[in-house]
Symmetry: C2
Subunit: 426 residues, 2 copies
Amino acid sequence: MAAAAPHSLLLQKPNPGTAAFTNPLPLTPTAHLATKPLRPLSIKCAATTHQIQDPPHAAQPRPQDRVFNFAAGPATLPENVLLRAQSELYNWRGCGMSVMEMSHRGKEFSSIIQKAESDLRALLEIPADYAVLFLQGGATSQFAAVPLNLCSPDDPVDYIVTGSWGDKAFKEAQKYCKPNLIWSGKSEKYTKIPSFGDLQQNPEAKYLHICANETIHGVEFKDYPVPKNKGGILVADMSSNFCSKPVDVSKFGIIYAGAQKNVGPSGVTIVIVRKDLLGNAQGITPVMFDYKIHADNNSLYNTPPCYGIYMCGLVFEDLLEQGGLREVEQKNQRKAEILYRAIDESKGFYRCPVEKSVRSLMNVPFTLEKSELEAEFIKEVAKEKMVQLKGHRSVGGMRASIYNAMPLAGVEKLVAFMKDFQARNA
Amino acid sequence: MAAAAPHSLLLQKPNPGTAAFTNPLPLTPTAHLATKPLRPLSIKCAATTHQIQDPPHAAQPRPQDRVFNFAAGPATLPENVLLRAQSELYNWRGCGMSVMEMSHRGKEFSSIIQKAESDLRALLEIPADYAVLFLQGGATSQFAAVPLNLCSPDDPVDYIVTGSWGDKAFKEAQKYCKPNLIWSGKSEKYTKIPSFGDLQQNPEAKYLHICANETIHGVEFKDYPVPKNKGGILVADMSSNFCSKPVDVSKFGIIYAGAQKNVGPSGVTIVIVRKDLLGNAQGITPVMFDYKIHADNNSLYNTPPCYGIYMCGLVFEDLLEQGGLREVEQKNQRKAEILYRAIDESKGFYRCPVEKSVRSLMNVPFTLEKSELEAEFIKEVAKEKMVQLKGHRSVGGMRASIYNAMPLAGVEKLVAFMKDFQARNA
C-alpha cells in the first residue's frame, strides 16, 4: 500500500452527512435482521497481508461494514460484545424483556449487576475492603464527589496536574476544600510527568490526586507517587486507561473512571473506594454524590444506568475471556509500539510532543511537520474508513485513541496509511 | 378465560431464576439473529377475543415471546422501538459504528441529539424561551439541582408533598435553602391532592415544588396550582407521567423527569427550564448540576448518556407517529379506565385507596380484601406472563404501572386474570 497511488485507496466515504441520516425505515420496521454470508477479509498493509482475526468471528457480519474508530470516547467497542448485545436486545435470554425494560430490583437485573461487579473484581483483583460503585455523571461528577466525601471545607489536599482533566478536577475541588497545586505540566504544554522525589507533598493533605492518563495530551503515569499524607490516600482518575492494564488497587484510596473509553458506553461511572473512607461526606453533599449511600445500597439507591452496566458486564466478560489484564496490556503495548515507531521513524514528518517515557498506550497525539497538510491527512484517512483522528480542539493536530477494543489491524492500517501519506507528501 | 380452570392458564414460567442466566452462548457468538415466521397471536379475554395489534407489526418477532411488564420503571418500551434499536445496534444507518461508539461531538450523534430535542419540543410544544437539557443522575439529582440553581441558602421555598418522591425532594432541599412543607398527604397515606385554594403559599418563596405523579402511591395532579410567589415559579417532578399527556409547559419554571418510565431507558434525565432562571447557581453547585453550563453547551459540556438519548429519540418519534400526546393521553385514559373499573366493580375484592378524582393514569396500586391471597395472586399472574405487579415494599399490595408503552391488550389480559382470580377466590 505504501507504493500505491492515493486514488487506489479510495473506498466508500464512511460518514454520510447529517442529511443522509433521515430514517431509511418506517418506525414500524418491515426489515428484518438479515444475516450475511461469511467471507474472510484481507487488508493489505505495507508490511504484510493477513486475515483480520480480531475478534475471531469478525466475518459475521462482515467487518468491512465497520470503520476503524479512533475516537477518544465514546469509543470503539468489541465487535463480539456488540453482536451479543444485538442478539439479546429484544428479549434477554428468554425472560421476555429487554435489559432496558427490567426493573432494577428484579432478579434478572440483579444477576446482571452482580456478575458485572464480580467480573470487575476478578479483572482488577479488587480487595474485599474496597466498595465498587456503578454511578452516573462521568468523571466530572467525581471531581466534586471526591472532595465532598473526603474533606471538610478547610482541609488541604494535593493535586498533580499533568493535563486538562487533572486541571478541571483541581478547579472543581476549590469549591469544597483547599486544594494545593503541587505540580503542573502546563508550562511545558502537558508533555511530562514529574519526578516523584521532587514533589512537595503536604503531610496534612487529605489526599493526593492524579489523572492516571490524560486523554487529550497523551501523558500516562507508568508508576504512581506514594502519598505522604497521614492517611496515605492516593486518588486517581483512570477514565481513559481503566482496565487497559493491571493496577494494584491497594495503592489507592479511590479510583474512578467514566466507562466510555475501555469498558462500555457513556453514562456509567465506576468508583472503587476503600471502605474506611465512606461515611464522612460534607453536609452539603447531594445524596447522589454520597459514596456511603450507594455502597450501602449496592448501587441501587435509585435507578442506576441499567443498560450501560449490562454493556460493561459484557465487556468485563470479554476481557476475562481474553486472558485478563496482563494479556490486554500486552496487546495495547504492541499497538502503541508500532504507532509510536512510525512517528519516531518518520524523520520528523510526524511528531509526538510527549516525553517518550510517559507516552500513553491509549491516546497518541501527533502533528505534521508541514501543519498545512493536516486537514488533507484527516480527509484522506477518513476515506480509508479510519475516523475521529482529529486532535482535540484545544491542542490541534491528530490524535489516535487505541483503546482495548481497537484491533491491531486498525493500528496497522493507520500506520500503513501514514507511511503512504508521507511518501506522497515528504 | 374467566371460566377457565387455573391450571389451564399455566404457561411457561416467564422469569427463570438467576441460576438460569449463565450465558448460553460463547461470548464470540456463533448464533445469528434469526427471524421467525409471521404468525398472528390471539389472546382470549373475558370480554372478547381479538388480535394483538398494538404495535401493528408485533408478530415479528412473535409477541408471545414477550411478557407484559407492569414494572414502575425501568418499564416496558414500545416493541417497534426495541426492534428498530436492535436492527441498527451494530451499525447505525451505515455509518460503520454503533451509536454506543460514536463521539458525542461527531456529526452522527449531533444529528441524533438534535432530532431528539426537536421532536420533544414538538411533542410538548415547548416554547423557545425554555432550554431542554439531557442530563444524568435521575430525579434524585434534581432534588438538589433545583434549589442549587434557584436559591440562596436562606431563601424560602414551598413544597407540596403528595407521596414518597415529593418527600425526598423536600428533604434534599433542606441542604440548600429553607423549604417549607405547605401541605402533606402523609397522615392520609398519600391518597389525596390538596385543594389549591386552601394552600398557604409564601409570596417570598423562590418556587413552589410538586411531584406531578407519585409513582409509589398512584396519586396524580389533574390540574396544577398557580404559584403565588413573586417569580410565579412552579417546579414539577414529572418523572412518572412525562409525555403521557399534553402539558402547558409555559405554566412551569422547571419540569424534570427521569426517562425510564415513559420515554426511554434509565440513565437519562430531562430538564426543561425557563431560560431566565439560568445563571444564578450557588457557588457550591457542582459543575454537573449547573443548568447554565449544560444549556450553554447544548447538553454536551461533558459526555452525555448517548445511547439513552438515542433511545429517547426513537420513543419521541414513535409518540409523534401515534399522533402526539392527545392521542397518547386517550389511550392511557382507556387503559386506566378498564383497570380502575375492574377494581371498583369487584365488590371490594380489590381495593384502590386513592381518591377517585386524583387516581394516576400511570400507576395503579390496589390491594386484596383478603390480603392473605396477595402472594398467590402475584404467583399466578406471573405464570400468565404478567410480571412486576408486586406493590412497592413501602406500601405492599399490588401495583400495575401502565405507561405509554403498555399495550391495551396487556391491561385487558390483567383485568381478565383479575376477574378469573376473583371468581376462584371470592
